[in-house]
Amino acid sequence: MASIPSRASKAASDAELIARAQRGDEEAFAALFEVHKRRVYSLCLRMTGDTAEAEDLAQEAFLQLFRKIGTFRGESAFSTWLHRLVVNVVLMHLRKKGLQQVSLDEPDGSQDEPVKREYGDDDKRLLHSIDRITLSRAIEGLPPGYRAVLVLHDVEGYEHNEIAQILDCSVGNSKSQLHKARLKLRELLRSQRLPASMSGS
């Protein structure tokens, strides 16, 4: 039961910081940034696969957050509100870039290439663990549509019905794109596989 008081105290702490930020308190803005910066930046980085874009988008997301903070009424958890805002900022950016495959119901040939099934003496399983740098690099190498679904589901923990709503596609499409994304990620990891990047713990 230890998580309940800690969640409650975090919510209380967020609420206090929000109330102070609504009055223009600089320390409160800085504290809110400090608490949420890693999650926001990481989401931007994983969704775009580019550090410069991730910096710009994290900055834009925080600016939008702070401009709108006066309208936050506490109906949902602050972190949920912020997270949805960040996802919207990133998707808007990807769509502006013309990456139509972010909308998963629109067919896109580049994502339907067959997933390779390879088998051979030197082509065994991915051992027992993957280091984070290798995995991050492989996720960055995914096509944007695959990357969006995989990041939202496997990394950020969204459910398929939420992803369908966010990406404006069907639940079935979200599931099928996730499966293809995992297979593609496996393929990328196998092609990147180097003795130094794989640990056999």
Partner: protein
């Protein structure tokens, strides 16, 4: 069906392999597909795919978060300062200097005096009536106290739009709860006019409501915006 490996090794996909492919996605999503696990245990090729995908899924779930560069906050802060959402200490000093210059100082003083005069009149009446109420506690709620509380509530409603939304909400919730208590006491007294306990609760609720309103009105004159 034959599939060619990257090193030239061939894998013959059986009907069970094709069923495995078709059911793998559901299995990874938690669906009841025991045939998938059974086939993976028998077929080395499909077993490798399954163990790899389970590893990919768990590694993605546990991926650590990255630290953004310090310039992200520097840029955010600079924009917030430029847009006036937060004020730098230097800018706050400029405001103080401006407020202390003769013409704004006179205007602000006049405004503050007017606000204080208006609020003080209401509060003065409330304190007078509250003092009388102590003597008459066992008798009834002073109609003057009710009237005073009503006027303070009207003043609060008229100016609450300027309050910080969170603070405003807190006051409104307090008032709503007290109004509920007051109504309950009135209802009980309508049925049982001799219920002195309800009468005492009623006086207490009005006194508390006046105290809450006094605090809200003082905040409205201060820095609660």
């Amino acid at each position: 069906m034959q599939e060619q490996g990257g090193n030239g090794a061939a894998h013959w996909a059986s009907a069970a392999c094709r069923d495995f492919d078709a059911q793998l996605s559901d299995y990874l999503e938690g669906g009841d597909r025991s045939a998938v696990a059974m086939h993976a245990a028998e077929c080395a090729f499909c077993g490798t795919i399954l163990s790899d995908l389970l590893l990919v899924r768990s590694a993605s779930t546990e991926l650590e978060e990255d630290e953004p560069p310090a310039r992200v906050w520097a840029n955010v802060r600079a924009t917030l300062v430029a847009e006036g959402l937060i004020r730098s200490p230097r800018e706050r000093r400029r405001w103080v200097e401006w407020l202390l210059s003769p013409i704004p100082a006179a205007a602000v003083t006049a405004f503050v005096l007017l606000s204080v005069f208006t609020t003080r009149n209401l509060l003065h009446r409330y304190h007078q009536l509250a003092a009388q109420k102590v003597v008459r506690l066992a008798v009834d709620v002073d109609p003057g106290l009710q009237q005073s509380v009503s006027e303070m509530e009207a003043a609060f409603r008229a100016h609450s739009a300027h309050l910080n939304p969170t603070i405003k909400r807190a006051y409104e919730e307090d008032l709503e709860s007290l109004n509920g208590e007051i109504k309950e006491c009135h209802d009980t007294l309508a049925r049982q006019p001799d219920d002195n306990l309800s009468r005492e609760y009623l006086v207490s609720a009005y006194t508390e409501k006046a105290r809450v309103l006094e605090s809200a009105l003082e905040l409205g004159d201060g820095d609660g915006r």
